[in-house]
């Protein structure tokens, strides 16, 4: 077979392979030609087939079953790359508001203060988070979660050892796969030296805790920290904060356990 015939024959078999119509003999021939040094493969034929198929099918609007759509969206969680370190800085008024004696959850007050902040063009110093596809500040996102989630679980943190004075709460929604920690009295950390890391204990999923994200405490007072779980959490039984090396760790040795919030 000369080069021209070889190319034509391989191209035809390759087209058959892409169309899924090679018979057993042709498969053997295709495999044989594939080993030939003259063989140069090219994905463009496969792209052309996909483009033709997509071209015809896009004119037809197909409805995906609702349950499947939800499964696909839920499946995203496994492939989300953990977000970069969330540095939480708390403006002065927010720290005051966040103090335990103030009704932090009063939505109207929050709305007024947020509006005031925007009016005064005070640039937000808190890294925004994405909640339900919308980018917003952690406190706003937390407030929205509290309004929309009907399955909200709330658990109190208890500080351990040197961190005994810290207080805090964690809220979590299985349905929304979203949660926030409100932490008060955690020591400020130097991110270049050590960072806080949250772990979610979900025995139904795995005996090993799930990474809930690395975070910093850049100022004294109360901070709202979003939970960043890269995988789906179904029934968290405990939330544990540890102190780790910068960037966090994949598996914690739990040498410094800062606080624990255990579901009752």
């Amino acid at each position: 077979m000369n080069d021209h015939d070889f190319r034509n024959r391989f191209e035809e078999l390759e087209a058959g392979r892409i169309l899924g119509d090679l018979d057993a003999e042709e498969v053997k021939e295709w495999e044989l030609l594939l080993k030939d040094p003259r063989c140069t493969r090219d994905s463009s034929l496969e792209f052309a087939a996909a483009a033709v198929e997509a071209g015809f099918l896009q004119a037809r609007k197909s409805e995906v079953p609702r349950g499947l759509q939800e499964k696909l969206v839920a499946g995203i969680a496994e492939f989300v790359v953990p977000a970069p370190v969330n540095v939480v800085r708390v403006p002065f008024w927010r720290r005051i508001l966040s103090a335990p004696q103030v009704a932090w959850g009063v939505a109207a007050t929050l709305a007024v203060l947020l509006a005031a902040e925007r009016f005064l063009q005070d640039p937000p110093s808190v890294d925004p988070v994405r909640s339900g596809g919308v980018v917003m500040l952690p406190a706003e996102a937390k407030s929205q979660l509290m309004q929309k989630a009907s399955d909200l679980k709330e658990t109190e943190f208890g500080g351990l050892a040197d961190y005994g004075k810290m207080t805090g709460k964690v809220i979590w929604s299985d349905a929304h796969q979203e949660g926030f920690m409100t932490l008060t009295g955690l020591p400020v950390n130097d991110p270049a030296v050590k960072q806080y890391q949250l772990w979610i204990v979900d025995p139904k999923r795995d005996e090993k805790p799930v990474d809930g994200g690395v975070f910093d405490i850049p100022a004294t007072g109360t901070v709202v920290v979003p939970i960043r779980n890269p995988v789906a959490v179904r029934d968290p039984q405990a939330f544990v904060i540890t102190m780790e090396q910068p960037g966090g760790v994949v598996v914690s040795k739990q040498q410094v356990v800062v606080a624990i919030a255990k579901a009752s």
Binding site: G16, D21, E31, T40, D42, S44, A54, L68, G133
Partner: protein
């Protein structure tokens, strides 16, 4: 990613339904396609293929792979399964235009008899034997015309043929 699901799940579903007849299996295939997509999204290059073409290719591969595996059971015939394992075993050396208008233009200029087979296969979703029965053409002729038609469409879509490709949008790895 969610936007991508909203935009392309219908296309993936349609392609999977075309090849796979059992609805539960279709759902499995659709989920596998999106798993493939998230795994290889970083390798998507909008200069080489549009999003719909790229996702369509993943869907076709998964669906055809599924059918081959199913049909292999009774036949016990070894098929080049490994070929379908990696998605980019060969890098594209020829960039083609993938926009819908260009593609349909390329199909339009195929010979009438080939165009008819293309329509029955890609639009109506008919298998080769079904096309053969409907048109009265021998099965071998249907196969050959489809294969040669595809090669011809690729030739017409080649950028080195003089066309300019519009840069498609990218919601896959954004």
């Amino acid at each position: 990613m969610q936007e991508c699901i909203t935009k392309y799940s219908g296309l993936v579903w349609s392609i999977a339904c075309r090849y796979v007849k059992n609805q539960t299996c279709v759902e499995d295939v659709v989920q596998e396609v999106f798993t493939d997509l998230w795994k290889c999204a970083k390798r998507y290059d909008p200069a080489i293929a549009s999003e719909s073409t790229f996702i369509g290719m993943l869907a076709r591969r998964r669906a055809i792979d599924f059918v081959r595996k199913e049909s292999r059971r009774p036949q016990l015939e070894p098929l080049p399964e490994g070929e379908f394992q990696g998605h980019f075993s060969s890098e594209p050396t020829t960039v083609i235009r993938c926009e819908s208008g260009d593609v349909m233009e390329a199909v339009k200029v195929l010979p009438e008899e080939t165009r008819q087979i293309f329509f029955l296969h890609f639009d109506e979703g008919m298998t080769h034997p079904e096309i053969s029965e409907k048109t009265g053409l021998p099965l071998g002729t249907v196969k050959t015309r489809l294969r040669r038609g595809l090669i011809e469409v690729r030739r017409k879509l080649r950028l080195d043929g003089g066309g300019d490709a519009a840069q498609p949008s990218n919601s896959i790895n954004s």
